[in-house]
Structures are given as structure tokens and as C-alpha cells.
Amino acid sequence: MSIFVIAYYSLLLIASCLAAFYNQRSAFLLVFSLTLVSFIVGIIGGADALKFIAAIAAAIALAAMVSYAFREFVIIIVSNEMAKELRTAPLTAAFGMFVIFTYAIAGIFAPWIAPFGEAEVIASAFAPADENMLLGADQLGRDMFSRLIYGTRNSVGLALTATLLAFFVGAFLGLLAATKGGFLDNFLGRVADVIMSIPSLIFALLMLSIFGPSMPVIIIAVSIIYAPRVFRLTRAVAGDVVVMDYIEAAKLRGEGTWYLIRREILPNSTAPLVAEFGLEFCFVFLLVAGLSFLGLGIQPPTADWGSMVRENATLISFGEITPLIPAAAIALLTVGVNFVVDWMLHRSSGLKE
């Protein structure tokens, strides 16, 4: 038995004993079940498997520390009221904010961060990493790292534009339908039903096959697909507000539709709508990434994460993780946004109780 294995188990056991002693019930349960799982995994996979677990644990611990520090940092720089809310944020949410923040920086300052141009060929195909190229070269000999950084701009930018468009159209129609009611409400509801009865990826493929894969087509197609989902939610949220007596009072006062939406309904719908925006962004982002992966998204030579996975997929069979990196970049941002949304939803549902 190597020193690593002994140290590994003793550390876990000491941690569980400490947790038990200080009455940290959930921490104890977590650490001790990890110990038990390690026993089994260790027997099957040997020391390597344990090292793998340790590496994951270390990564999680690192992420937790970063999130904690980031949360404290944000609490200091924002106003008092915001800080009070942020203190209730779990570490996962803080991690999500940190990820979003990092991606925003990478996207905005891409030309300054990336060492090479987006489409600049600097090495031979699939050249391994060296001091010049952090992550090696892709199938045409372009720097992976630079393309990854530029990809933030293109992939996230595209998804964000599409989400914004879908969101404004959907939310506006949803508010209008809830306020006006009657025929308009029914009609829009039926249209949304029909569009939502076609699976989103299939509908996107249909539209792309007809109009060809270009940026504007992707943006419009994705907005058409997701606007009904936003419409449904906005309609439901606003529907809950519209039945309130203060809306009736405003209607009886003679206020117009626009005033009702802007001053009475919207301020009471923002929290769920912001959360919904995050969720929709995740869906759109994954859909667009899927399209790119199928070769029907942003066209080369523009750097884009989904296409990067596809272009370098062959490396997988040589045990290289390079193609996984852009895929991981997609997953990380979606996870981050989802963590923040999860916290927001939890908070708004907690307020109701």
C-alpha cells in the first residue's frame, strides 16, 4: 500500500471525525460517505482511481475557494442592499457568477488576451502544446487557445443575441396577451402551442436546411423557436399579476395598456423573468452549440466552440482531451448560469412561503 493511499484514507477519516466531533452533521455525512465510496472504488480501481477522486476533490475545493473569495470581493464592492442579498448566495451561485464574469472578460478583451489571430495558421496540423501554444494546434495548425478565447465572443455572442431577441418578442407578446386577454390571448396561445409541438433541434434543422446556415438565419430561427417558451412563461407570470385587485383598480381608473404593462405588471414580474432569461440562455446556448457541432452553425473560419469540437473530434481516439476543452467551455458556462438561476428561483420561491 503506497503512502498516498494511507494518507488519503487517514485524511478522510480525520476529517470525518472532526466533523462528527463538532456536530457538523451534513459535512460528516458527506465526508464519511466519500470514505465508504473510496473503499469500494479503491478496491476496484486501485490507487489510480483514488488519485482520480482526490484530483476531483481538489478541483472542487479550489472552485469553492475561488467562489468564496469572489463572493466576499463582490460583497465589498457593491451597495449595502445588494450585499445583504449576496450573503445568502450559496457557493454554487457565487461560482456561477465567477464563471460568467470570467467569460465576459474573455469575450470583451479577446483580441488582447489571445496571443494569435482567430484564423492565423502558425503550426502544423494537430501540433502538440509547446511554450508558444498553451493547448496545441487544431486540424489546420491554428492556435487552440486563441480560438477558444475568440470563440467566447462568437458562441456566447450569438446565443446572447438570439436569446435577447427571443426574450423581447416573447415577453412583450406575453405581457400584451395577459393584459388584453380575449381573442389576442387565445390566438397567441395557439400559435405558441403549435411551435412548441415541434422539437426545437428538429425545427432549427428544418429552417437551416431551407435558408442555409448563416448568422442572421440562426438568430432568427432560434428566436422563433424560443420566443413561444418565453411567451408561455411571461403569460403565466403576468397572468398571476393581472388578477390582482391593484390591476383592476388601475383599469377602472382608465389607465391604458402601456401604463398597465410598464408600471403595474412589469415591476412585479421581473424576478421570475430574469431567472427565465438565464434558463432560456442555457437552452439557446446548448442548441446553438449543437447546431455548430453538426456543422450547421457559425461557418469557418470563425472560431466557435461547437465546430471546434467537431473539427478536432478525431483526436479523441488517440486519448487526447483537446476536443473536450471547447465542449467543457460550453458546459462550464451553462453550469454557471444554471447555478445562478437556481439560486434566484429558490430565493423567489422562498419569498412566497
Binding site: E248, K251, R253, G254
Partner: protein, 566 residues
């Protein structure tokens, strides 16, 4: 009959009960050290305003803490010699349903929709192996009989949604009785019911508790109800006990100021105004109304409202009183008939009314929580109508808002920049009044404005409305199901049943016989503070002339009767 404490054993002994609730990431005391002693066969009324913690104490008596609450460790709850706070969950569970039973406020929500009533009834006896299934079912039918449910042999074999609210509430009481417990917790069992239905349930509960000599904790906010049901009364305020005593003593001679103030609530009475020298303001003429293709909600309704007077529209849920208000305000255009304002026809749909017409007719709502936009400042809520109708701006607008806040007895500087969620229920209701006044109307619809408020606060609102009426010459249409409110504020009364007006006239005449049979039933069903009221009433009238069955037999076209005929 005063209850003799010395004769019987102690059943439930609660000492220093503290319960904490989790909010804003920390534990806050909801119950702050309450003591309670209940003897075998004793019925104790727990009374207090909303937020007093009555219901939490009720659950704690079963050793049960709802999600998000916990019973503090230094509390003691002793049931028949057994300490519940230290007992295991299994031991506590073995008491529930078996020796301590629970009757919830909403029977419709508390019965499982997936099972027949009788199967839920027999679940307890079968689980505790007290009876065989057939025996348990026979016993259930016997209990349904005793609780005077219609069709006792058959009603248990229905699903909960197939039975009416008042009947379900009695079926739940029967279920609580299924194991013949020593103690039943009644958690506001009649609050959700109409008065005429409530009386049946009250009589049934009282009888069955008497018959089996069961002890009970009767939780309610209604003094008159508790006076009928309880041997002893304990008054609670914000998680603390105010005082306790036998019912008779508490009714006649309360010691604490708070209790006295509760008892004194119904003293306010506005002098009755008459139509003489006044003009007719609103006139509802032969109105029929229905919600899109549904059944008729209003059937040939006519009544007048004179300026500066209060017309109370009384009826139970489903009588159409709120629909009548919707017709007047233009939210629901009538199918037939019309509404006149100062003799001129009012456009049927509010969208077709001009600003001046809209301004004349304002509304105050039942739930102040939903009537005020929580995201808008008080100054904007009150200021908007003033700006909208009168075009006030800047300093003039601010002065007007201050004036309105003064009018509703709130200090302008303190409330100007606050938001509705920061205010108490009564303050919110006052803001709602101020918003209506800001339009300078001549007519205000008050839709159950006091029914969601605690009694003391409600009293304040009534006094305020009465004062404003005299100062500003306002006409009120006062929608309510509460006859005490009618007594204190109305000038004229309109009684509605199933979408028809059964009787109308000046208040004094309405409260004097002869009555229409429905008015008579309504009047006689309202609990009074007198502890012997229910007993006397049952003796005088007999149960068959009260409650749901009686109200079904009444036809709106019936002639007026003297109460002695009933």
C-alpha cells in the same frame, strides 16, 4: 353550566412552550413561553388575532412541529403523563389519530382526493387494530348519524369532492372521533364556512364532544363562536398568553385591557341616515348578469343608492353581491337592465366610460395585500389618481398626497416614501381608502373591506369610513357577509340570495320583524356573544329549521314572516 376543574384529571399540561420559526436565515420565537392545562372532558378555546400563534400551539399539543418550525428544547408538553418533547417519533405518532385527533380548517383540502371518505375514516381504527373493517364502517355510519349528516349510510362511500363543504367538515369531525380520542384539536373548523352552514357544524361538534366527553382545544378568532363551544377561554397575543378564565367569567368580567378591547369591538354604531333631502346617485334597474355563457349570477336585481348614504349588500358566498358591484363599476356589462348615475345611464362597459364617469365611482378591496401594488411607493399609489384625474403636479401633488394621508390618520412624512409590504394590514387598508379618495369620488364600493382584518383594526376602519362619509358626502355600497358590520355602519340594507334580492329597506326595519324567511335565517345564524345563544336557539327552532337544508327550502319570492312562525 360552569365547568368544574377540580373534579377531573389533568390530560394535557404544557409548560413554557417555545416554538421557533425559520425566517431570514435565523430562528425567531413564534411562541414565547405559553403554559396550558387541559383537564379530561374540558373544552378550551384558544382565541387571538392572526399571528397570535394559536394554530402552532394546536399542532404542538400533538407533539408536531410544522415544516420550518421547531419546538424549543426547554419546553414541556405532557400528555396524560407522557412527555412529548422527549418521546421518540414513533411514540408520538402512536398518539396521533388514536388519542389526540385533529380537525383542520379546510376539510376540502385535508381529505385525500384519491380515496373515499369512509376509507380515510377507517384508516385510524384499522391501523391501531381497534376494530375490524366492517365494524369500523358501521361505527363511521353511526358517527355520521350522530353528526346529522344527510344520507349517513351512503355519504361515506363518496369521494371528498362529491360532498359539500359543511358536510365535509362534519365528516372530518367524525373521522377525528373514529378512535374515540381523549383530545381533539379543532383548528378554525368553521372559518371557511358561511354563517348558515357554520351553525350546523357548530351544533354537531358541540354535541359529539359532549356525548363522548372528549377534551378539546378549540382554536378560532371568532369570539362569539368560542363563547358557544368552550368551557374555558385562553386569550393569546403575539405568541404570549394574555389571560385565561372560565367562559362565563371571561365574557362578563375580563381583567386585561387587551381582552376588554376585544370584547368591546362591536360597540360602534353610526346613526342611521334617511333618504329625505338627498338625491338618488346610483340606480340599478332590473339587471341580469352572467359570466360568459355560464349560469345567471344576477337575476332581475334592482336597488338605489342615495348620495351620502351607506347601502349594505348582504348575502352568503355565491349570492351575487360582488357581481352586483362588478356590474356597477362596469367590469361586467349586464345582459339585461341598466345602471343609472344621477338619472343618466352609465355606459355598461368601463372602457366606454369617460374619465369623469370613472372618477365618480371608486373601489376599496377586501384584501389590502392584493389591492396595492407592492412595488410602488405609497406617494405614487395615492398620487397617481390625483395626477391622472386632476392633473396635479409637483408641489401641488405633494400637498394633495399629504392632505390625503392626514385624512386617513397616517403621518405623511412617515409613510410618503414607503412601500405597501412594509405596512400592517390596517395601514394598507387605509392607503386603499386614500387611493379611492384621491379621485374625489361621490360613490365608493367597499368590498368586504373589514373581513380580512382583526376586529380592533376593523373597528378603526369603520369609524374612519363613517367620518369620511360625513365630511365628504360619500355614498357607500358596502358588500359584506357580516351582519355585525351591517349593524354598525349601514343606513339601508339589501339582502341577496342566489342572485336575487330577497328584501331591502332601511336598516332599523331590516333588523325588526317581520322578516323574509331568508333574512330571518341569516339573522338567527349569526353567533352572539351570549354563551347560551346556541343552546337557546336550538331549543327554540330545532335543528331542521337551521343550516344548509333550511336555506335550500327558501324561495326568494316567499312572504315575510314573524320569527315565531319559524
Amino acid at each position: 353550566m360552569p365547568y368544574d376543574k377540580t373534579k377531573k384529571d389533568v390530560l394535557l399540561k404544557i409548560r413554557n412552550l417555545k416554538i421557533q420559526g425559520y425566517s431570514d436565515e435565523s430562528w425567531v420565537d413564534i411562541i414565547k413561553g405559553v403554559d396550558l392545562t387541559l383537564h379530561r372532558g374540558e373544552v378550551m378555546g384558544l382565541i387571538g388575532e392572526s399571528g397570535a400563534g394559536k394554530s402552532t400551539i394546536g399542532a404542538a399539543a400533538m407533539g408536531y412541529a410544522r415544516d420550518g418550525t421547531r419546538i424549543s428544547e426547554d419546553s414541556s408538553i405532557e400528555f396524560d403523563g407522557m412527555e412529548l418533547t422527549t418521546a421518540t417519533e414513533g411514540e408520538r405518532r402512536a398518539l396521533r389519530g388514536n388519542r389526540i385527533a385533529y380537525v383542520a380548517q379546510s376539510a376540502a383540502a385535508s381529505f385525500n382526493p384519491a380515496h373515499k371518505i369512509i376509507d380515510q375514516h377507517t384508516e385510524g381504527p384499522l391501523q391501531y387494530r381497534l376494530k375490524k373493517r366492517m365494524e369500523a364502517q358501521e361505527d363511521a355510519i353511526d358517527l355520521y348519524n350522530r353528526l346529522r349528516l344527510p344520507n349517513p349510510d351512503e355519504i361515506g362511500f363518496r369521494y371528498p369532492h362529491q360532498v359539500s363543504g359543511g358536510q365535509l367538515q362534519r365528516a372530518m369531525t367524525a373521522m377525528a372521533m373514529s378512535c374515540r380520542p381523549d383530545l381533539i384539536i379543532f383548528d378554525e373548523p368553521t372559518t371557511a364556512l358561511d354563517v348558515t352552514t357554520q351553525i350546523e357544524v357548530l351544533a354537531a361538534i358541540r354535541d359529539i364532544v359532549d356525548q363522548f366527553d372528549t377534551a378539546a382545544l378549540y382554536i378560532t378568532h371568532d369570539l362569539a363562536v368560542v363563547a358557544q363551544m368552550a368551557d374555558t377561554i385562553k386569550v393569546l397575543l403575539k405568541g404570549e398568553e394574555v389571560e385565561e378564565g372560565s367562559t362565563a367569567e371571561m365574557m362578563s368580567n375580563p381583567k386585561e385591557e387587551y381582552t376588554k378591547s376585544l370584547w368591546a369591538v362591536r360597540s360602534f354604531k353610526s346613526p342611521q341616515r334617511s333618504r329625505e333631502g338627498r338625491d338618488c346617485l346610483i340606480s340599478v334597474k332590473n339587471v341580469d348578469a352572467a359570466y360568459s355563457a355560464g349560469p345567471k349570477i344576477l337575476d332581475d336585481i334592482s336597488f338605489d343608492i342615495y348620495e351620502g348614504m351607506t347601502v349594505a349588500v348582504v348575502g352568503e358566498s355565491g349570492s351575487g353581491k360582488s357581481t352586483a358591484a362588478r356590474v356597477i363599476t362596469g367590469l361586467l356589462p349586464p345582459q339585461k337592465g341598466e345602471v343609472l348615475f344621477k338619472g343618466e345611464p352609465f355606459p355598461a362597459d368601463y372602457r366606454n366610460r369617460n374619465k369623469e364617469q370613472l372618477r365618480q365611482c371608486q373601489m376599496i378591496y377586501q384584501m389590502a395585500d392584493t389591492a396595492l401594488n407592492p412595488k410602488v411607493k405609497i406617494s405614487e399609489i395615492i398620487g397617481r389618481p390625483a395626477r391622472f384625474y386632476s392633473g396635479l403636479k409637483g408641489a401641488a401633488l405633494k400637498a394633495r398626497v399629504d392632505e390625503l394621508l392626514d385624512l386617513i390618520e397616517l403621518e405623511p412624512s412617515q409613510y410618503y416614501n414607503r412601500y405597501p409590504p412594509e405596512l400592517s394590514g390596517g395601514q394598507k387598508q387605509r392607503i386603499g381608502i386614500a387611493r379611492a379618495l384621491a379621485a374625489e369620488p361621490s360613490f365608493i364600493v367597499c368590498d368586504e373591506v373589514t373581513s380580512a382584518l382583526d376586529q380592533l383594526v376593523a373597528e378603526g376602519i369603520l369609524r374612519l369610513l363613517d367620518r369620511l362619509q360625513d365630511e365628504l358626502n360619500l355614498a357607500y355600497m358596502f358588500i359584506t357577509h357580516d351582519l355585525a358590520t351591517v349593524r354598525s355602519i349601514a343606513d339601508e340594507v339589501v339582502v341577496m340570495q342566489n342572485g336575487k334580492v330577497v328584501e331591502q329597506g332601511p336598516k332599523d326595519e331590516m333588523f325588526k320583524p317581520p322578516h323574509h324567511p331568508y333574512t330571518d335565517l341569516l339573522l338567527s345564524s349569526v353567533p352572539e356573544m351570549d354563551p347560551d345563544w346556541l343552546t337557546t336557539l336550538l331549543e327554540e327552532r330545532g335543528l331542521e329549521n337551521l343550516g344548509e337544508s333550511a336555506s335550500k327550502q327558501i324561495d326568494p319570492e316567499d312572504d315575510k314572516i314573524m320569527p315565531s312562525d319559524a
